[in-house]
Amino acid sequence: MTREGSPFKGTATIALKEAADHMTSARMHLIMLLVLLTAAGAVYGAIGRITATTAEDPFLFLKLLTVARDPLPSFAAFLGFLLPLVAITLGFDAINGEYARRTMSRLLAQPIYRDAVLFGKFLGGLLVIAIALLTLWLLMTGLGILFLGLPPSSGDLVRGIAYLAVTLAYAGVWLALAIAFSTVIRSPATSALAALSVWLVLTVFWGMIAPLIASTIAPLDPLDPMTVITQFETQQAIARLSPQSLYGEVTALLLDPSARSVGPLFFDQMQGAVVGAPLPTVQSLLVVWPQISGLVAAMILLFTLAYVAFQRQEVRA
């Protein structure tokens, strides 16, 4: 059966309304305050380290995002940890909140398709995250200019923008997850808890679980040195099920031009390489292209799940 009319009619209206709601909501203000404070702290720490240790570096600005000073982690690490929280805050009651407010049936009675509701919710959330990220990045760059006294190089800018794009995809994964939970679970509190549990497991505990699973799947054999590599690779494959590991690998490569690989490197592979020489941006991107595709794929997969569940849902609660 074919349907008349565009499924995207009204998407922009819903997305902008959602974005406006998020921008003015107290919960968004609180979470962004948290992110801003930690980010400022991390960058301030990094500036202190950089001015104390680094004499000359062609990619000084990228160091702002990756250098950590105890006890604070680096800006990139902070973002990898806190950004999911922002996305979950924006998405956990996207669909079930409409049911709870009893606005869903009225909304669906407007001349739009259901598709527009879900697309609008997702795009609205993503728009807010994009604005927040851009603001954050500009603030950090500004702080850097102020305290380091140097403008960012063009290489810095290109890598920084690529990093922003990947960060947005990473946030999109968590936003899609939160929206999927909000579609499947009827109570907003339960869906928030479910999304937060997944976040905790994947960002905090996954790093501990992955080696455990790897050692049972691929045990070490003291007589066979190759088993060390097999175990490492198994562990890495399991760790990559978490979007945070994927994001961490992309960050490491994009923000550190001298990084060559996300996996083990052998001496024969390093033959002829100038140690510490920066890779061109495109080469760095190519190394982590699978990770980037993985993040985008996870986002699309989760969104599709939410989409299918939502399309089949009965309107009456």
Partner: protein, 312 residues
């Protein structure tokens, strides 16, 4: 000239093994106000959702304004307004903002929307509260705001689900007046309710729902004739006799209910006072009072649904 606006044939909805709506046929002419009447859970809301295409029927077909709501949902929803049961609005937005959001979704231009919203809010007497957050609104105001949305969108057909549920008598009356105004302006209205008096005052025709089927469609007068507006109730007071036993098989008597000591309510097809008097006297009792009154429609209505429950 009358044209059919809503036409449903054999609408059926199953939720798993449960049958929510079991073959509903309904047709509504332009300009009519039709009431769907029935107890909660009789399938009214499910039927409404199927008419709008918000729920896919398991069987059957719907045509609204000549269009299939499953194939051309946008076209149907553009012309058909829906006011859900206990309508919700975004509490942190004002009435005007809520309406301009739906106006934008309906594809109205900004200027057009502003004008129409102001006119609609005027009509439902919410102009003074238009810029207050909807969170502060009473239930009656929300319902009126829901009606304003239909006005603003200039719908040809309005489907209202339990528009008066939970309203106080005054708010109910205001809403019913509003519905009548809409009807006079040519809007076709389908409304559901479990309250007979609500439907009785505004609807031209009534469809009685029971167990997912329509048991009866017709005017209020036809309903009265059909479900016992013609029935007689005799109030009997007598001593020294058990009337329930004595008059059990009397001709024309449908049922006898003992009310309190020496007091019975006899339901009959015709005026059975002479027979009852004779029975009492023959049985050796002393008759104290015989009072005849015709069943009121609301009594007949509740009796109708009681019978249905017994049948089931």
């Amino acid at each position: 000239m009358s044209t059919t606006v809503i036409e449903a044939k054999g609408l059926t909805k199953r939720y798993g093994a449960a049958l929510a709506v079991a073959g509903v046929d309904l047709s509504v002419e332009a300009g009519e106000v039709v009431g769907l009447l029935g107890p909660n859970g009789a399938g009214k809301t499910t039927t409404i959702l199927m008419l709008l295409g918000l729920t896919e029927p398991s069987e059957g077909q719907v045509l609204i304004l000549g269009k299939d709501p499953l194939r051309e949902p946008l076209e149907v929803k553009r012309q058909v307004g829906y006011l859900p049961d206990t309508v919700g609005f975004y509490d942190n937005m004002s009435a005007r903002e809520n309406l301009s959001y739906t106006a934008e979704l309906a594809g109205l231009s900004r200027d057009q929307a502003r004008e129409r919203i102001a006119a609609a809010l005027d009509k439902v007497r919410l102009r003074d509260a238009a810029d207050r957050q909807v969170g502060t609104y009473s239930r009656g105001m929300r319902q009126r705001l829901g009606i304003a949305e239909l006005l603003m969108r200039d719908c040809r057909v309005a489907i209202l689900d339990e528009p008066t549920s939970g309203l106080d008598p005054q708010a109910t009356q205001e809403l019913l007046d509003l519905i009548q105004t809409l009807s006079r302006e040519g809007m076709t209205i389908l409304l559901s309710s479990h309250m007979l008096d609500v439907v009785q005052t505004v609807c031209h025709r009534i469809a009685l729902f029971r167990n997912g089927k329509i048991g009866f469609v017709g005017t209020v007068e036809e309903l009265a004739d059909r479900i016992g507006g013609g029935a007689f109730v005799v109030d009997v007071e007598a001593d020294g006799i058990d009337l329930a036993q004595a008059a059990r098989f009397a001709e024309g008597v449908k049922s006898i209910a003992a009310d309190r000591d020496g007091h019975w309510l006899v339901e009959a097809e015709r005026d059975v006072r002479p027979e009852l008097a004779r029975l009492v006297v023959q049985g050796g009792g002393s008759l104290r009072n015989l009072d005849l009154h015709r069943a009121r429609l609301d009594q007949a209505y509740s009796r109708y649904f009681k019978e249905v429950a017994h049948d089931a």
